[in-house]
Subunit: 552 residues, 2 copies
């Protein structure tokens, strides 16, 4: 294809394609003795890390992996995963991060769609693997990742055990220069339709996301600021949008990194304390789980910087985190956007204000990071005013957004209609460019011709002391078109009636925070809320469950 | 040329070429009301700035400037210069920053080499301009930049006065997308041989330098750290390597910027105090000038972050700056490197040490910024150990190094011999990647941040009838960094005093062949000059012999 050859020629002429390997120059020269930690199992240096990256590339080459081949990984967060983040793309191959929380059917579908040649699988997933193995069409070799008792990989029909294969491979690999548009990673999103859709990112895109997101984090005057002497630990899975790309950022800055393995609240809290973690990231559900765990009381969380994403950070949860001295703030993005597009941030003046004043700023969707062209548009793609109240669809351009969905031109065209990536989020922007997502395009409630924000109702309901969590969905209404239905989980030992909750919301309506007609007449108390594999509220499942009931 | 078309196609496919205009998205959305200040003459907002950038593009278009045309600027540091930093490249044209400190001959040479179609010239340079005007081969239109009494631009044979042209142009310009490899800027370096050599940078290169240098500065834990609430003022000229690229960084981060006009110590100090400047940059000569000025005693310089580059920062000067509470540290680069390649930095632990311990670290050449592949090599391009003592040539790759010298393939090939840019600096690196430049391979003299060509001085001196041969070497100078020392062998039976030789050189300076400040105060008469085995002047031996004497 002439484009590829020409782009390669250009890269040669300018001498420096944007490749993932280039992220390592300064780190290996300046921070070779910095640590990378795998839970309580293993710790080594960046110098050792690079030796193992080279061994892994050699081992994969021996198994026949070359330019353009795909290598799949099923693992918890580990140093091995970080090694594959670098070794696989640096060989010119494609890293496929398998979402291990999907159903077996979905994993089979994504594997046969991405067509990996080699699969690295953690021994803990052997039951799943053995169930699906016969249906994997492309996998030629399997490598066993094992933290437990030794296993005979050959007897399992595998190419070998990861550590044994690395030990048998020389710690030398001449990672080549190639076209920066070469595909580096792929993974699947289960966001909006039944079948998972593959997104994919090039070397150039990952390098540019790394630089811009790092700059977005580092250039904060004080709070939420990432720097070279931080200690980083992800608490969003490495299979999920490269753990938001932050492992690449941490590696570029030569930061100490901690990989926690499987997410067990007590282990996570112990690692934060023992390894002196100062920078992390998670979804609200995980933050809630950490803060309510008994072990949390014994640990000093003061100054722990935590990016919250995946779903809206509620005021109540932000308040609890701030009371513990944590520095929580929101990041915004999605699988299609690599993911970071915006970060909430406070000025130094705003940081002098009390928690009540800070929380509304910290839970905002935030301000775009460098190079992100983020717009709020109407149905004709015309820009809406940045006045903090006018809502429209959020569309974006940035150098690192997925070019489309893998082998799915129709969905790709829809994603990029009009030359901008459509987030399907509804939001508004103020005169300082602060974005606030108010709803999903496909999860909004339209009543009597007016929009109701389900997110806002959820946020206000969780401020009631008896409410643990809630979800608001639309149900059909003969008179108004749609009306909100609030599904509420109460805290253990707490009581509240539907009337009390409505009175709670009417107070906010009287203060002008919401419209009076937004107060839902339908409130149901449930034991739990359906969630997706990554912990987000599964509104589609909730609608399927409760809309039928309400109609039945 | 097929390469250009294909690269353009790639840019389209991925939807986001790296263009200078993309640096403005977040700033115009988030910091539109932030200030840009021009000395004590003018202040306006980023929103206004962008209006004027559009007007300037319109005005230049009206004068016939299009894609690929060159626009030259001769101005002191100003908001107008910043407007041209954006408007000219964003139109697809090339910004040529004219070094106003060159001799008239050199300015004529560079102008006829870069071939600008339009010239923007500050009224203060009219005497120079009128001298050289008749010899400018390519300039079709001249725009007058004027801070003083109104002038009749038409009567001066000019297209108009800058403000009048902007006022007459609509504040609307649709800056197009184009190939990111399009040339954006060019300027000339007088470093190594008699004739100035043009370097040039593409949009992609400037965007990547902006991101990486910003990240290098922002990710410092404490000292030297740049962030969004800083106030920035350059004290290195905007014609000199885009003021080290920091105006682009400051604009990207939406930082308040202050442009001081001509560098007058008292005005600079007053601006620092009045505008609360927190981040700046200069060469050691300027820092010395500022700190020894009487007005400096009355101004609080505490916390002022100052990148020092251009020549070595001495311990004494660093000590004086630290005693005033300033945060000084070294940046390293050159015209060919856009320029930033490394920055000195201290860990938080090192910052707790006293000044005597910090100074050796602050005056080091520093650690490479992200994406810079900086090596110390022997004559065969083999890497030398990073042990803090082994010296070799410093060579580099980075995405933003000049592809070569304009219309000079031979010098370009020499610059990039072996696929790495040769800095012609000799240095060593320690195990933390800290670079220390120890010597220069080639024989040039850097005085007050400007190069003097020893070859040119030698050539002119030997045109004196009494001079047999001569060598010019650099000797250390407390104020200027380095000054030239001319070693002169007279012809037998001939006489000439040092004053006569200086008068001889001043004649050339008055004719515009060399700068006035190139005329050496130090002239010594010797019987013979050390030569190498092949009969070349042995400047290293001469330096060893005479530099020690001059220091003794």
């Amino acid at each position: 294809m002439s484009f590829t050859i020409a782009a390669h020629a250009a890269a040669q002429a300018y001498g420096y394609p944007l490749l993932i390997k280039q992220l390592l120059h300064t780190t290996l020269t300046q921070a070779s003795q910095q640590e990378i930690v795998y839970a309580d199992r293993f710790r080594y240096t960046y110098a050792d890390f690079y030796q193992r990256v080279q061994r892994l590339a050699q081992a994969l080459t021996t198994l026949g992996v070359g330019m353009g081949d795909t290598v799949a990984v099923m693992d918890w967060d580990s140093h091995r995963y970080l090694e594959s983040y670098f070794a696989v793309p640096m060989m010119g191959s494609v890293l496929f991060n398998v979402n291990v929380r999907l159903s077996e059917d979905q994993i089979i579908y994504t594997m046969n769609h991405a067509r990996p040649k080699v699969l690295l699988v953690n021994a803990e997933f052997l039951p799943v693997f053995n169930d699906i193995r016969a249906q994997l069409e492309s996998v030629e070799h399997v490598i066993l990742l094992n933290d437990g008792a030794p296993q005979d990989a050959a007897a399992l029909g595998m190419a070998g055990e990861y550590e044994a294969l690395l030990a048998a491979s020389p710690a030398q690999f001449d990672f080549p220069d190639f076209d920066e548009h070469t595909r580096a990673t792929t993974f699947y999103t289960t966001g909006t339709t039944g079948l998972p859709k593959g997104v994919f990112f090039s070397h150039r895109q990952l390098v540019l996301h790394t630089l811009s997101a790092a700059l977005g984090l580092a250039s904060n005057p004080e709070h939420g600021r990432l720097h070279r002497e931080d200690v980083y630990m992800p608490i969003t899975p490495m299979f999920h949008v490269h753990a938001w790309g932050i492992p690449y950022i941490a590696t570029l800055l030569g930061i100490k990194q901690v990989y926690p393995g499987r997410y067990l609240p007590e282990s996570l809290l112990n690692l934060i304390a023992q390894e002196k973690v100062t920078f992390s990231q998670c979804v609200p559900t995980i933050l809630h789980m950490l803060l309510t765990h008994p072990r949390a009381k014994e640990i000093d969380l003061t100054g722990l910087k935590m990016v919250i994403g995946g779903s809206a950070l509620t005021e109540g949860l932000a308040h609890t985190a701030l009371a513990r001295g944590m520095d929580v703030f929101v990041g915004y993005g999605m699988s299609e956007t690599c993911p970071i597009m915006s970060l909430s941030r406070l000025t130094r003046e705003q940081l002098t204000q009390d928690a009540a004043a800070q929380i509304p700023l910290r839970i905002k969707t935030g301000q775009a990071i460098p190079l992100v062209d983020l717009r709020i548009v109407d149905d004709n793609m015309a820009d809406l005013p940045h006045n903090g109240s006018r809502t429209g669809e959020v569309v974006a351009r940035a150098p690192w957004l997925t070019q489309g969905y893998l082998h799915n031109p129709a969905a790709s065209d829809e994603l990029w209609a009009g030359g901008y990536l459509h987030t399907n989020d509804i939001g508004m922007m103020d005169e300082r460019g602060v974005l606030q997502i108010t709803d999903r395009l496909k999860d909004v409630i339209k009543t009597g011709g007016e929009w109701i924000s389900s997110l806002e109702l959820e946020s206000l309901l969780t401020r009631h002391p008896a409410v643990s969590e809630c979800a608001v969905i639309a149900i059909p209404d003969a008179k108004w078109g749609e009306r909100p239905l609030a599904l509420v989980v109460l805290k253990p030992e707490q009581q509240a009636s539907a009337d009390e909750l409505r009175a709670h919301l009417r107070d906010f309506a009287e203060q002008g925070h919401i419209s009076r007609w937004a107060v839902p007449e339908h409130i149901r108390f449930v034991d739990a809320l359906a969630r997706t594999s990554v912990g987000k509220l599964n509104k589609r499942a909730l609608r399927e469950q409760f809309v039928q009931q309400s109609q039945g």
